[in-house]
Amino acid sequence: MSTLAKRNVLPGFGLTLGLTLTWLSILILIPLAGLFLKTTELSIGEFIETVTSRRTLHALSISFGIALAAAVVNLIAGVIVVWALVRYRFPGQRLFDAIVDIPFALPTAVAGVALSALFSERGWLGAPLAWLGIKVSFTPLGIFVAMIFIGIPFVVRTVQPVLADLEPELEEAAASLGARRWQIVTKVIVPSLTPAILTGFALAFARAVGEYGSVIFIAGNLPNVSEIAPLLIVIRLSEFRYADATAIAVVMLVVAFVIIFLINRIQRWAETRGAQNH
């Protein structure tokens, strides 16, 4: 072990790295590996049959499709919120800045029951919407609302520091060279923010895909209508169809890993691009 750590007089490398790897393996890696092992109980045909059954496909498409739509809303709304928080001054600004983190901090079950009651047909927002003929709670639209809620902090908190650190000289130089304001925004500012925006978007999407607590109360959970993939896993578990539950979980995990990989690539791309600019 000590040969790995070169030129370092500090003690404890072997011990701490050993403990880290052991604890990581026992608590995280072995249980996750067990998940993949479990799917080997199914033949490839059975696996494909499980994953492509009508109900599973629908649940997966609900989770991925609505998560994608919610992440797009979070991307647009998030950038506007960041713009207001960083560039302007308005009453209550610090308070609004602080509450952006609430979807992170509020337990998902609390968010779930609150959103469900808020958007139910007799709720504060649900009643006026029902009058307009829009039903939110217990429909796919409710899933959309919950996924927007859960994704709010991701885009805001990844883009905010980048916009705050953007050098004013860049915009001033562009203006002095005759660029119009909308040209400065689209050709100078947005490109600088793109890596942060994409990272926030991917994080919000990944979170929404796997989200359970804040969604199930407002979703209605009708099979083939408003049933999300994590809920279908829970249902299969309660029916003791462990292999089926695991197959759905594996599909979701693989997609989650692909998203992590993409985020890492975006960040590496941003770093090399940043290095070229300086």
Partner: protein
């Protein structure tokens, strides 16, 4: 860059202002959108929790909070959080020492693996323990023969919570300790201090706010975890119900006011966590700058 930095001196004040701002109408529209969006999606749900919780008066509120079912849920939530946060704090310190103070191959991979639970759906985090300890699971038969109850009992709830909150302390401490470098520790060691003395006297005082920050976020998530715990708990009333699970049960039984009363405690925890976090961020900025 050096050419651009001359620019401010050559731009008249008006042009400079125009370059950095939008027309008044657009400015107002952007602020109005931000306020409306955050109010609808964040402020209103939060206000609704507290108004519903107190909708039948203060007495009814405290009646709900003091009944035995609620107290059992609070107790289980506290025990679970205490064990998982302590475990993750120890792990975070150990992992951050190895990762931040030494150079070795595969470090990036190791950090990615530590962050893994963030990307796993809470339901899957519970599922993995069912696959290990359930009757059809890897250790299920052995556990049954020896009369050891893990699933649908406190051990599984603690395990699932620890899994979900695994990265919180480590991911706060690793960048903080990386920035602080190793010079102070090296000086202490070369002056003859033991490894443990160096850690407790030199490293620990430098990272105390970072530790508190990580513990705070870890605790908030541990007390509020729903999906993973829901899968492994078995929902045995008065025994394996944490506070979030009790909120679910009460809500599904249409005991709205009671559900929101318990939920209000969790919402209060979230608010206190946010305030403490804001205060701590001030402390962390005063100290060594963080790039988080």
């Amino acid at each position: 860059m050096s050419i651009l930095s001359f620019a401010p001196h050559r731009i008249p004040p008006l042009a400079r202002h125009e370059a950095r701002s939008e027309p008044r109408a657009l400015r107002i529209a952007i602020i109005a959108f931000a306020i409306t969006f955050l109010s609808i999606f964040v402020v209103l749900p939060l206000v609704l929790v507290f108004t519903t919780a107190f909708s039948k008066g203060v007495l009814a509120y405290f009646d709900v909070l003091s009944n035995s079912e609620t107290l059992a849920a609070i107790r289980l939530t506290l025990i679970t959080a205490l064990i998982s946060v302590s475990a993750n704090l120890l792990f975070g310190l150990v992992a951050a020492w190895a990762i931040a103070k030494f150079e070795f191959r595969g470090k990036t991979l190791l950090i990615t693996l530590i962050d893994l639970p963030f990307s796993v759906s809470p339901v899957i985090s519970g599922l993995v323990f069912i696959l290990l300890f359930g009757t059809q699971g890897l250790f299920g038969v052995w556990l049954q023969q020896h009369g050891i109850q893990i699933l649908f009992a406190t051990p599984a709830i603690v395990l699932a919570t620890t899994f979900v909150t695994f990265p919180f302390v480590a991911r706060e401490l690793i960048p903080l300790m990386q920035q602080q470098g190793t010079q102070e520790e090296e000086a202490a060691i070369s002056l003859g201090a033991s490894g443990l003395a160096t850690f407790f006297r030199v490293t620990l005082p430098n990272i105390k706010w970072g530790i508190l920050y990580g513990v705070l976020l870890c605790n908030a998530r541990a007390m509020g975890e729903f999906g993973a715990v829901s899968v492994v708990s078995g929902h045995i009333r008065g025994e394996t119900n944490t506070m979030p699970l009790l909120v679910e049960i009460l809500y599904n039984e249409y005991q709205l006011m009671a559900a929101f009363a318990v939920a209000s405690l969790l919402a209060l925890l979230a608010l206190v966590t946010l305030v403490a976090k804001t205060v701590l961020e001030g402390r962390l900025v005063e100290g060594p700058a963080r790039d988080d």
